[in-house]
Amino acid sequence: MAVTAQMGAPEAEKLVQGKFTLGRFYRCEAEAAAPVASTNITGLQAWEFGEPDVDFSAKIFQQGGGDEHTVIERGFRWSGTLSFLKGDSWDRLAEMRGVTLGKTNNAILPLYKENDYPQFIFEGIVRQSDNNTHLGSVVIPDMILGHISWDHPLDDSLFVLPWASKRFPFLMTDGAELVYDVFTGDGSTTSFTLSSTPLTLSTATNWRLMDYDTLYYVKEKASTASTGTLQRTGYSVDGVTLTKTSAPEAGTLVQVLYAKAT
């Protein structure tokens, strides 16, 4: 192409605004369901995250290699915020913590971080200004709510919810949406029927944080456990059939996150 080449004007739909984006989430600790229903997030004003913190980072040199080196990183932790209209604080926080705020049994919502367990999976569906044409999505799996601060200025203000995640966020193509299926093991069943045919996400062997081509992850949560444990091997997918080499124990929840065509 010539150095004098001139491109056309950018397409109108490339100017993306948050007001045309649908934010929704899935509770990580949802009861068994295939699929788990998502919750649309009302009052959402903004969301953001930065590059991750890493627990370990090292430069690897070798003798005779001069300054050329490789950087290895382990223990990623992404963090960011979700911002809501202030008046939505009570309802949104209750939704995300999976409780109903009310006078009967949940009259308060503590604002401290209870533990480091994943609480919800966020799916930001970015659309054209017709609110109808999907441009693509941004997914932040396994968000962990942080300690919450509060301000209350004289004028309009936002409720800013800090979060972190130990699972990598990703962009997802247009025409695809998340599916979160949760099954209950009975000690003998080795095959589970997914609610949709999984899309091929990528070639897992090309990505060190991926374990399956068609699953973002599969976890098992024992009936006595506080959170699910990542299953890096042992599962396979054929069509809508998810199979494990040995049956999950009775009462164990099998949590599967993948994508399907819209």
Partner: protein
């Protein structure tokens, strides 16, 4: 994209005129009104039985671009309502303003509403704003315009769009 880069202000006006024309032909209470393209003179109003929605040509309000290429324009389009006292007056005006917000603040509705428009020698049948390359961003107003007669009222709303 159907609108022509050589005729943008008028093609945008034609598309919006055709879109509003679709509402006034079939959707209550829009059927009480009539759409015209451009600025109406008073003799037009007095000669017709319905109040008017008028759609003016688009005015450039800004641009956005990218490195190494042309820019795209942000446009503003005035859509006005002209009513006489004997055809509803201020009450009818309030209904129109409410309807404008209801339609143009509903992205799915306004971008999927089908209309037929002819631009130059090409007719686009059952097309949409999105298919024609028009993205509605905002609507504001109404502003009050001086009427030519004390028994007439005009209000104008401004659409912001990208095309």
């Amino acid at each position: 994209m159907g609108i022509r880069s050589t005729h943008l202000p008028y093609d945008i006006q034609d598309c919006l005129y055709a879109l509003v024309g679709q509402y006034v032909s079939a959707t209550s209470p829009w059927t009480n009104w009539q759409a015209i393209r451009g600025w109406p003179e008073s003799d037009i109003l007095s000669a017709e039985s319905k109040n008017y929605i008028y759609i003016l040509d688009a005015q450039q309000a800004g641009t956005f671009g990218h490195q190494g290429g042309k820019s795209r324009n942000i446009w503003e389009v005035v859509i006005g309502f002209w009513v006489t006292r004997d055809k509803g007056g201020a009450d009818e005006m309030a209904i129109w303003v409410g309807q404008m917000f209801d339609k143009f603040q509903n992205p799915q509705e306004i971008h999927t509403k089908q209309f037929t428009v002819t631009l130059g020698t090409t007719t686009y049948t059952n097309t949409t704003l999105t298919a024609m390359g028009i993205a509605i961003r905002d609507i504001r107003g109404p502003s009050s315009e001086m009427g030519e007669n004390l028994k007439e009222f005009r209000r104008e709303m401004i659409l912001t769009l990208i095309a």
